[in-house]
């Protein structure tokens, strides 16, 4: 199925055949094409080239145009400090430096780098009509922080009416950006509001909920999907975030995925995340990355979950780690093997097979992922079934699916490493490759002879 369809299905809480995968590539795309963050974020050509490199390498179902929460702030007059290996940072806050709120206007779509990202969106949508293109906008509260500085927190108590006016203005800016992204071809508008992780649920409901709820309604009316990104520990706010009715919430490793899953599914909102950005993707190995992705996928499940890193990928994230995740996402067999090898460790309770063997019969165990969904498994099980037929009661065979706990235990107990594998009387006979029926029968004959 096409990436966009998969993403849309997951966000509409329908069961999917494969979990969609969205690498949040921002400046990291610049690294992929050998440019600095500064050059990359200022050029339509480089943003498009970087996103294309990421699509080729990471085989995603959706991709952000870019990841930069300073675009709106810059267009509204905040000064930026540019870095070569990071997104820029806002270093001036007009509303705390003399500018009046009434002097700020929703910017023109020609302002600062707004046309750069909108043109990149158009070109990427043309290039990849089947992928979910994500347009990322700065959430209203984070934009208010850019405009006001730390005052935003104190105004909650000292001048709540003023903060409401600022939030209203920031929401107008967010709607303007969302509308532009949608018009340029974005399929999903992600409202990225990391600063909300720093406030309590009651302040969130007072100063954030009314505005972002309105914003998500606006995006829905425009026919696009929406996601609410929050980086940082926002555990306390997941419930109120879901109440704002986005199609999706996306969180980072600071919040346990199972916690978010429980709340999101209760609220009928899809959820995404939360691969570990630094300790695993940036600093870990390809195997660490696959194991982390698998853990997220196993917790997330195939209903309403999208696999993604927790937030913007650090620029220097090794490409091979993300390629390894992409390989895992698209290879169910690999997922099964990894799951089983994980289970082989200390945690799996081995089975007592004393009563499993028989003095007069050959016992065949076929370890599979699941013969109904994995083609090699299906052929191997079929071959065993046909081969065993003529022996009648002298051969007993059984499929053990490692999607089930018993299958994992059987795999660990028999010492099986690969899937699918045929085991006869406890000996590993055929590994991975599907043998011709006669070969299986030859081996059955040997085992039977030994019994008589």
């Amino acid at each position: 199925m096409k990436g966009l369809e998969l993403v849309a299905k997951a966000m509409k809480m329908e069961e999917v055949e494969r979990i969609p995968w969205i690498p949040f590539v921002g400046c990291h795309a610049g690294e992929l094409i050998g440019t600095t963050a500064t050059e990359y974020l200022k050029s339509t050509d480089l943003i498009v080239k970087g996103a294309k490199a990421a699509v080729e390498k990471y085989n995603p179902d959706g991709i952000p145009v870019t990841f930069d929460l300073q675009i709106e702030a810059e267009a509204l007059g905040c000064k930026l400090n540019w870095e070569d290996d990071n997104p820029p940072a806002v270093i001036s806050h007009p509303l705390s430096e003399g500018t009046k709120l009434e002097d700020l206007k929703v910017p023109c779509s020609c302002k600062a780098r707004i046309p750069v990202v909108m043109e990149a969106t158009r070109r990427l949508k043309d290039e990849y009509p089947d992928l979910a293109i994500y347009g990322l906008i700065t959430g209203p509260f984070t934009l208010a922080l850019h405009l006001m500085g730390t005052d935003v927190f104190m105004k909650m108590f000292e001048d709540p009416d003023y903060l409401h006016s600022v939030m209203k203005f920031c929401t107008d800016v967010s709607k303007f950006m969302a509308g532009n992204y949608i018009e340029s071809g974005a399929d999903v508008v992600a409202v990225v509001d990391p600063m909300t992780s720093q406030i309590d649920p009651m302040s969130f409901e007072t100063f954030v909920s009314p505005y972002v709820t309105d914003l998500f309604d606006f995006i829905r009316d425009a026919g696009a999907l929406s996601s609410f990104f929050v980086c940082g520990n926002a555990e306390q706010n997941i419930e109120v975030m879901c109440d704002c009715k986005p199609d999706n919430v996306s969180i980072d490793e600071n919040i346990p995925l199972d916690f978010v899953k429980k709340i999101a599914l209760e609220k009928g909102v899809s959820f995404g995340g939360n691969m570990k950005l630094t300790v695993v993707l940036l600093m870990g190995t390809t195997e660490d990355s696959q194991r982390d992705a698998l853990e997220c996928m196993d917790i997330g499940g195939k209903k309403g979950f999208l696999l993604a890193p927790g937030c913007d990928l650090p620029m220097a994230t090794p490409a091979e780690n993300l390629e390894a995740v992409a390989e895992l996402v698209h290879n169910e067999l690999l997922q099964g093997e990894l799951r089983a090898s994980e289970a082989k460790g200390s945690s799996v309770e081995k089975l007592d097979l004393a009563g499993h063997w028989d003095d007069s019969k050959v016992v065949i165990d076929v370890i599979t992922l699941d013969s109904s969904s994995c083609a090699p498994c299906q052929y191997m099980v079929k071959a065993v079934e046909i081969a065993a037929e003529k022996y009648g009661d002298n051969v007993v065979w059984k499929e053990h699916r490692i999607k089930e706990k018993e299958g994992v235990q059987m795999m660990a107990t028999l010492g099986v490493q690969n899937i699918p594998t045929i085991v006869m009387d406890g000996e590993l006979e055929f590994i991975s490759q599907i043998p011709p029926v006669e070969k299986i029968q030859d081996r059955i004959d040997v085992y039977l002879k030994n019994k008589n």
Binding site: C27, N81, E83, D85, N86, P87, A89, V90, I91, T150, F153, M154, M156, F157, E158, P194, S197, Q198, I199, D200, S203, C231, G232, N233, E235, Q236, D252, E253, N254, L277, T278, V279, L282, M283, G310, C311, D312, P314, M315, A316
Partner: protein, 224 residues
């Protein structure tokens, strides 16, 4: 104990800055940290006692509530602001050495990171707990920390990062400092930072809240 000291502790705990401040509603119209500190000094209460019996007590409450997720950054900033107003009265006395310092804490956000809300709160809490704080500000490079260590050989280092994208610089700074001063105590923090990350980059202490930093500094300062 002086009633005013406990009232001042409450002003810090609930973020009551001065009489004019509308927050918190339950203390509207009452004297705040600003006025009460002044009154206490006028009554002849020792600055060290005001610090330890009112300000630190109030801040400890704030720290506890923060680590239990009962309050968040906005409430903490209000307490910090109240504390600042009180400290403005006390600072002249400390500068003349009337109160002993427990140690020196050198703090900054890491190279590339300009977000200093968390760092400022930690600096204030550490200062309020009797340490001299050298705040290097934002976007601080390894060399600047190293230069401070040379000037203050027994100091503690605090690094802050808000972005996952700048955490890599935190690793770089820790390894540069430890390369020159293997015994140097470094604590790290910031929204995306975890204990796992701290272990990986070889820093000495990670704390999810300012109170944890103070506890860590106290434990090391007492031991040495």
């Amino acid at each position: 104990m002086n009633d005013k000291l406990s009232t001042l502790a409450a002003c810090i705990e609930f973020g009551k800055i001065n009489k004019a401040a509308p927050y918190p509603p339950q203390m509207k119209g009452q004297d705040g940290a600003d006025e009460i500190t002044k009154q206490l000094l006028d009554e002849g209460v020792a600055p060290g006692d005001i610090l330890s019996d009112a300000l630190i007590k109030g801040m400890e409450k704030v720290g506890e509530k923060f680590s239990k997720n009962q309050i968040f950054v906005p409430q903490m900033l209000m307490s910090a602001k109240a504390m600042q107003f009180a400290m403005n009265h006390l600072k002249p006395f400390f500068a003349t050495g009337e109160a002993d310092r427990r140690g020196t804490f050198v703090v900054g956000t890491v190279e590339g990171d300009l977000h200093d809300i968390g760092k400022n709160i930690v600096a204030m809490m550490v200062e309020g707990n009797g340490y001299e704080v050298i705040d290097l500000g934002v976007d601080v490079k390894a060399e600047q920390f190293v230069a401070e260590i040379e000037k203050n050989p027994n100091c503690f280092i605090g690094l802050s990062a808000l972005l996952t994208t700048t955490m890599a610089n935190m690793e770089k700074i820790v390894s540069e400092i430890k390369g020159k001063y293997p015994e140097q105590n470094i604590c790290i923090g910031g929204a995306p930072v975890t204990q796992d990350f701290c272990d990986k980059i070889g820093a000495d202490s990670y704390n999810p809240d300012p109170q944890g930093v103070v506890k860590f500094l106290n434990s090391v300062a007492v031991a040495s």
